[in-house]
Structure formats: C-alpha cells, structure tokens
C-alpha cells in the first residue's frame, strides 16, 4: 500500500513538473533570432560569407521554420574582417534586436572580439569557420561552441603523420599575423613532440603576391617538408610558386589550412598529391552528397566549404536543443547542446565538450590529379578518418578554467 502511495505521489509530482516545464516553455521574445556574421565580400567571403547565410537558412527550413511553435528568423551582417565592425554589429544585435545566437564567425580576430560581447550578454556563439583554438582554451567561455575545426586538429591531422613517416625537417612559410603565428606554434609543437625539427621559416606579410623569394629560402634550407601556415590567396600564391620553382619535386609541401574554394583555385598539376586536413568533404558519402546537392542549388552551384556545412550543423543542433530544453535561455540551451550527441551529414561521432569544443571525426585527404577527377569538383581522395579525440586538443591540456573546475 505504502508502495502504491509512493508511486502515485512520484507520478503526480512528475506530472506537475512536466506541466510546469510546459508552462515555462517560453521564448524570450516570441521568436528565435539567429545572426550570421561573416566577411561577405572580402578575401574570406568564399569560405563562409553568403554561403553560411544560405546554410543557416537551409537548416531553419529543414527544421520546419518554427521552434516551440514560434518563428525562427535569420539576420546577417558583413564584418569586413574587422573586429570593431563585428563587435559593434553584434552588440546592436543582442542589445537592441533580440538576437539569441550568432553563427558564421570567420576571422579569428573578429571572433575574439565578438565572443566577448556575446558572453557579456549571455548569448551563444556558434563558431563555424575560425581557426584559432583560443575560443575553447585560454579565451574559452560557457557560451562558446567551436564547431568545424581548429589549428590543433589541422596540425594533428596533417603534420603528425608526416613527421611519423620520417619527414623530420620542416620549414615554415607563415602568414605574418595572429592566425599564422598560432598555426605555426601549434604545428611546431607537434613536430617536436614526434621527434622532428624546424630548420627555418619566414614570416610573409598577409596579401603577399610574390612568394618566389621565400620559396628559394625554403629550397636552400634542406627541409623535407615545407609547411604553408597561411590561407586563401596567400596559400594559393605560395603553392603555385613552390610548384613553379620545382620545390614540390625536392620536398613535400603541406598546406596547413586549405579551404575547398582555395583547392578549386589551384591548377591540378600544381596541387595534385598535396595532403591536407579538413572538417568536411562534400563527396564523402551519400549523406554528404545529398546535402551538397541541395546546398548547391542555393549557392550558385558552388560546393560547400567546411565552415558552411559546419554552420548548418551547428544551427540545427542549436535548434534541436532549444526544442528539447523548451526555452531559448542560453544556459539551458547550452547545457542541452552539450548533453546530446552531434550526429548528422557533417558531424560523425560528434559531441560538444564541456569547454565548447565540438569534437568530431576529421578527414585527412589528398588532392586528386586531373586524371582521377570525375568532375571539376571531385577534389579529394580521403586517406584516413581521424577520430575526434585524436584530432582535437584534450580538455585537460586546454586550460579552460570553467570547464576544468566542473569536473
């Protein structure tokens, strides 16, 4: 009898709690508003930009356009790769326009400034395209979710296997600003840990068009591998020059950050055989191809860069979490996001770690020669799938205060 009573009581309590939860299922302003901040017309426009906006809109449509019965709205803005412009815009979004979450986020400098504003306002940042690993380590925040990749996963994916296979001597051609320095530092760490050495390097100003003098220096260094710690046009220009001066015949050239649009901008004769690491490749399996086909229709036929696929995945995960949590209150949503696995066309074996790092399988790929490409966009051969925990920096090593204290 007592037992029945107890059961009854529990059921009643549980029901009451569920009821109150339903009653509380509320959105701050009767809608969920997603802001997409990216470089819309500058050097990084192709790696996120308008494509990220389309990807986010696509996620919203696929989700049904509504969450908890209320509409989902997408707004976007151009940060012009300038931290001041980005943070002013985001401040306006969260303080005046009731934006609940911001995604896109490309240049690490902009993301650094913007995440500070978001954290101060207790709003979530879904970082889709930035490279720096600071956002989940020394500059981490309970409101950051870093989705697609970071410098550590690139170094682990590309550098580690090469050093282990006996390519011990490295030379760096580094973009002379925060991103390049960070990439070089992390890669150097990986090289040394695995018994390799750095025999030299140059810091080339961002936007250098002629890399021939750096390539000559790399050639005379006697390195086994020349690492390109740069991105976009810098990467394209340096690789073109390396091939032209015959560097690719005497040493391996490793592109540490190669976005799909940059790989497409390279003549296959120049780029074939180069190994790189990516968070996503459109032609991996049926699921990625199906999504890409739908995305291409909205993106002028262009295949997705990894950040664009990441923006979709992050948005979808966020919306699912809002639905599950029954609110758009950031802390509750973030807790929900961290409790659910991230499994979709983009993310395999993914989960959002305590420090905000979305850990998922990374791909080690090789650029195909023209003869093996079925279409122009058939860029990579997948060589290896790297498990997320091997690719990203372990939580314990990151030094993210709030996440470590939660243990």
């Amino acid at each position: 009898m007592k037992k029945i009573q107890k059961t009854l009581l529990t059921t009643a309590l549980a029901t009451a709690m569920t009821m109150s939860a339903t009653a509380q299922a509320s959105l701050s302003d009767d809608k969920v508003k997603i802001g997409v901040l990216a470089d819309m017309g500058g050097v990084y426009a192709d790696v996120c930009g308008p494509g990220c906006v389309e990807a986010v809109k696509m996620a919203v449509e696929d989700f049904g356009g509504k969450v908890l019965g209320k509409p989902i709205e997408v707004v976007s803005a151009d940060d012009q790769n300038k931290p001041d412009i980005g943070s002013v815009k985001v401040r306006e979004w969260v303080e005046k326009d009731q934006v609940d979450v911001v995604t896109g986020l490309v240049s690490s400098a902009v993301t650094g400034a913007v995440t500070k504003v978001l954290t101060a306002n207790e709003k979530i940042a879904l970082i889709s395209t930035s490279a720096s690993h600071a956002f989940t380590t020394k500059a981490c925040s309970p409101f950051n979710a870093h989705w697609t990749y970071d410098v550590v996963s690139l170094a682990n994916g590309t550098v580690k296997p090469m050093v282990q296979s006996g390519k011990k001597k490295w030379f760096f051609i580094t973009a002379d600003y925060a991103f390049g320095h960070a990439l070089e530092k992390v890669a150097t760490g990986v090289i040394k840990e695995n018994g390799g050495e750095v025999v030299g390097g140059v810091r080339a100003p961002l936007g250098t068009s002629d890399f021939s003098s750096y390539v000559l220096q790399a050639q005379s260094s006697g390195a086994d591998v020349v690492a390109l710690a740069n991105a976009g046009a810098d990467m394209v220009n340096s690789l073109k020059t390396a091939a032209e001066f015959g560097l690719t015949e005497m040493a391996d050239v490793a592109g540490l950050l190669v976005f799909t649009p940059s790989a497409l901008a390279l003549d296959p004769d120049v780029s074939a055989g180069m190994k790189l690491t990516t968070g996503f490749y459109w032609n991996m399996d049926d699921q990625t191809r199906e999504w890409t086909k739908r995305f291409q229709k909205r993106n002028g036929g262009k295949i997705p860069a990894m950040g664009q696929a990441g923006a979709y995945s992050a948005t979808m995960h966020y919306l699912k979490a809002v639905k599950e949590a029954g609110t758009d209150e950031s802390k509750a949503v973030m807790a929900q996001m961290k409790s659910m696995p991230v499994e979709d066309f983009f993310s395999r074996n993914g989960y959002l770690r305590k420090d905000g790092r979305m850990v998922h399988d990374m791909l080690q790929v090789k650029i195909k020669p023209a003869s093996e490409r079925q279409t122009v966009q058939d860029l990579y051969t997948i060589e290896k799938v790297i498990a997320g925990d091997d690719a990203f920096l372990p939580l314990e090593k990151g030094g993210c205060g709030f996440a470590l204290s939660q243990k």
Partner: protein, 295 residues
Amino acid sequence: MAEFLGINLFGLFGQLLVGLINGSFYALLALGLAIIFGLLKIINFSQGALYMLGAFAAWMALEYLQLNYWYALFLVPIVVGIFGILLERFLIRPIANEDHLYSLLLTFGIALILQGLFTDWYGSSGLPYAIPEELKGGTRLPFMYLPNYRAWIIVCSLAVCALTWFMIEKTKLGAYLRAGTENPQLMQAFGINVPLIVTLTYGFGVGLAGLAGVLAAPVYSVSPEMGSSILIVVFAIVVIGGMGSIGGAILTGLAMGIVEGLTKYFYPEASNTVIFLVMVLVLLTKPAGLFGKEA
C-alpha cells in the same frame, strides 16, 4: 657554398634575380600609370582593377572560348584597351578639365565597382590558370632554379617597356603625343586630332595593365583582390620615379623589385613596407621624384 661576410652568396644571387623578375613586372605596370599621368594628367586609380580584368579576361578566353595563353597575350590587352577607351570617352573625358582629384575619385570608384562585380560573379578565392605548356619547366642555374615562365616575364616586360619608351621619346608619333598634351590648341591648329590621340594613349596605357594581367595569371592567384594589393606599390614606384617620367617609371620599377627582393631575404617582415620607406626618403630629398622634372 660560397659565403661572403656570413652571407650565402648563392642565396643572394637568387634573391637578386627574383627581385629583377618582380621589378620587370612592376616596371610594366608603372609604365602604364606613368604614360597616363605624364601625358594626360589623369591619376588612374583603376589601373590595378584593369590589371585584374586582364587576368580574368585571360581565364575567360580559355574557359569560354578555348583561346590559349598565346592568343590571350595578344587579344586581352586589346580588349582591355578598348574597355579603357570606352571609360575614357564616356566617363573620364566629361571631367577632364576639372581638378585632378575628380579623375582620381572617379577611377577609384570604377576600381571598386569592377572588384565588387568580379567578387560577386567569381567569388573571392580566385580561379586556376595553368602555365602554358611551352613555358613549363625551367633551367638550373648555378645558384638557383629559374622557371622558364619567369624568364619569359622578364624578356616580355622589358621588351614592351623598351619599345614603349622608344615610341614615345624617339618617334614622330611620340613627338605629336607629347606636343599634343603640352599645348593642345596649337596642335589642333596644325590639324592634329588631339582628342583622338588622348583617347588612344589612355587605351594604350590601360592595355599595358591588361598585358600585365595576362602575364600574371599563370603565376599569381587570379582573384578580384589581386589588383588592389599591387596598385599601391606601383603608385609608390611612380612617385619615386617622378610622376610622369616614363624612363623613370621603368628604372624605378626594376630597382624597387630588387630592393624588395633583398628585404625579403634579410628581413621578410618589412618587405611590404620597404618601398614606402624609400618613397618617404625620396620625397623628403627630391620632392619631384628621382627622374621627375621640378614643377
């Protein structure tokens, strides 16, 4: 390896040669600017965008018309030149008698529009363009590997520069041109069609930018930003050489390429500022530029 005062001489020679290659490229671009300014007094800020247009036109010729590099090398400068002529005829001429600032702003606006359009059409990442088969490979010199294409850049730019200089400074046509811009009324009175000369000169100066674009397409990233990053350097070169001095632009272009090459060797971080440092020094000591005439 040969060493001198702790400097690897082979490395140094390599850098000097690479500097010379870049210098010949700068010379070609600076030449176009110097002609347009020296003869027409137009500060043409769209030169960089037209250089970009040249590279894209080469890509389009190959992609859409299956015209290879060699056709592009001849056709693209003409097409870009005609585009320039249209710009001059319909946009620049109406404000020709206003202050220089107007043409500067107008051409700057044109440059931004062109860059924006190409970013919109082709994206910001750039397009692939292969080195023509005939010029692939290279020669092993004692101190470096010289790609054939780079050697071709030197030969082609220097030949065009020399020809242009000769044409303007030493031929009758060049004399008409210089006289026509010096004193248009008098030349008109002699029965010479000065507006036509002006239009053709502008077209020629712009065509040089188109040619530089074709030369650049196989070795640099063909992207909408390519013009704006190089334009400022080229302007600095024209200022150092003396605004409007044709020989000055060519020589300064070569010299600055070498200065930049050496900086890349000794202190790479400063390589994109060294030319401006030289510019400041020259302006302080010789305000009209190294080869300019005192106004």
